[in-house]
């Protein structure tokens, strides 16, 4: 069954930009790749207590997967589900590549375009983008955790060697997150640090914000594995009395 959000707001984030917002439990966020090879860096924090945040090791190990996709939940370090991936055309989002840093430009041979030259086409780094958004909530470097790279996929061989898959994301690919608690969402459209493009690519995404009904026992994420049912049980306890 497809989960179709009731869309209330549409916008777009051009390539190489960043944004954050608080989204309530029950809100949905759909990202639509405008071009092949898009990347969206994502971090999540509890809006109520930002010390509780996205924890990718917990997320991967409790669902026994290296690749996140439809049916997977995004867990906080406190054993609760912050968001669920309810729709996903892409199948596999990178949890170990981290962010493009200011030090990568020279090594990659990417031109650094300053504001005075490029105005809003300047080349921002994902690392600095996240620090900017974190600072708006009184958070900083110490709060920087491992980010998810939506639309990007890394293959792993038996020795653990990583390979970026440049053809993974097609134009029009969609990912929908449903938020299970009130969260602060940090996102940027800076390129993946392993993107082999000859120069810094500006690839934007369309954004749709809306609402989705709460999950029932047949929900694609809640019923995905026994672990996710227990994660939602932890959410239920957290929300007791609401």
């Amino acid at each position: 069954m497809n989960l179709v959000p009731d869309v209330d707001y549409r916008t777009r984030l051009p390539g190489g930009q960043h944004w954050s917002l608080r989204l309530r439990r029950g809100a949905s966020l759909t990202l639509i790749a405008e071009e092949p090879g898009c990347n969206v860096g994502l971090l999540l924090y509890s809006a109520e207590q930002p010390l509780e945040r996205l924890n990718l090791p917990d997320t991967l190990k409790c669902q026994h997967t290296f690749h996140l996709g439809r049916g997977h939940c995004l867990y906080s370090d406190m054993g609760r589900v912050l968001a669920s991936i309810v729709e996903d055309d892409c199948g596999g989002h990178d949890a170990v590549g981290g962010n493009l840093g200011p030090g990568h430009f020279e090594a990659k041979g990417w031109r650094r375009i300053r504001y005075q030259q490029g105005r809003n086409e300047r080349t921002q780094s994902g690392h600095e983008s996240v620090l900017i958004e974190l600072a708006k909530y009184g958070l900083g470097l110490a709060d920087l955790s491992a980010n998810l790279n939506l639309f990007s996929k890394l293959a792993v061989d038996e020795q653990g060697r990583l390979r970026y898959l440049p053809d993974h994301c097609a134009a029009g690919d969609r990912v929908t997150l449903r938020f299970e608690l009130d969260v602060l969402v940090m996102l940027h459209t800076c390129p993946h640090p392993l993107d082999p493009s000859p120069d810094y690519p500006h690839r934007g995404v369309k954004i749709e914000l809306g609402t989705l009904p709460p999950p029932d026992r047949t929900d694609v994420c809640l019923s995905h594995c026994a672990e996710n049912a227990r994660g939602f049980d932890n959410n239920r306890l957290y929300l007791l009395g609401q």
């Binding site: 010390l51 917990d58 997967t65 290296f66 170990v96 981290g98 840093g101 470097l141 653990g160 060697r161």
Partner: protein
């Protein structure tokens, strides 16, 4: 339980310091730039859940994603450079008789145990509880929960399967196996010697580890 035997000291110089960390216990301490740290898996099959911080500014700390990306590989072994959240080298692995260390699995916590195993496993001892006690007992390092991030599991084996699954496999470590690191900056070392009893990462029998520190 038998008393743990001290590690075989194969280095020519006696260490500056030795610390025995009992099963389910923790360690916090400093390592100066250029100092050498050996972590010994005394009885084998143990997991040493480890975090490193820049001692001058603990907001900069070990970053699993920067480490993994820059070396192009998931696992850690001799030659691996452990990198910080500012993508700077913190420590370098210079010797490793185990062969592979995990960067993906993170540390157990009472909260994640409820998800992974059963809601009533909350009370069981965990690595993140160890770290909380370490930072509570040692406020002089300036660490709080916000500094607790994605760690290394020395001696732990978490391979990615060809299908993209995560496998919590039997350990590939053994009695006396060790990993040795040289610090590239002054660092704070925070270790939980994993008390996990729910999965085979420590063979359902957590055992002690030992730290040896040399000046160079």
């Amino acid at each position: 339980m038998n008393a743990p035997s001290p590690a075989q000291d194969t280095a020519p110089m006696p260490p500056l310091a030795r610390h025995l960390i009992e099963a389910g216990d923790h360690f916090i301490g400093r390592l100066q730039q250029g100092q050498r740290l050996r972590i010994v898996d005394l009885e084998g099959n143990q997991a040493a859940d480890t975090l490193f911080y820049n001692a001058c500014d603990v907001a900069e700390r070990y970053s699993a994603v920067d480490t993994v990306r820059e070396q192009g590989s998931l696992y850690l072994t001799t030659g691996s450079v452990l990198r910080s959240t500012l993508n700077r080298p913190m420590l370098r692995i210079v010797d490793d008789s185990c062969g592979r260390h995990d960067t993906l699995g993170g540390a157990c916590s009472s909260e994640s145990n409820t998800v992974r195993y059963a809601l009533d496993r909350r009370h069981m001892h965990s690595c993140r509880d160890n770290w909380m006690l370490a930072i509570a007992h040692h406020p002089e390092y300036g660490l709080t929960k916000r500094d607790i991030g994605h760690n290394i599991n020395f001696f732990m084996n978490v391979p990615v399967t060809p299908e993209g699954g995560l496998d919590f496999a039997e350990g590939i470590s053994g009695p006396g196996k060790y990993v040795e690191l040289v610090s590239e900056m002054d660092v704070v070392v925070l270790i939980s010697n994993c008390p996990q009893l729910n999965n085979p990462c420590s063979g359902f029998d957590p055992t002690p580890i030992e730290l040896l520190i040399w000046r160079h």
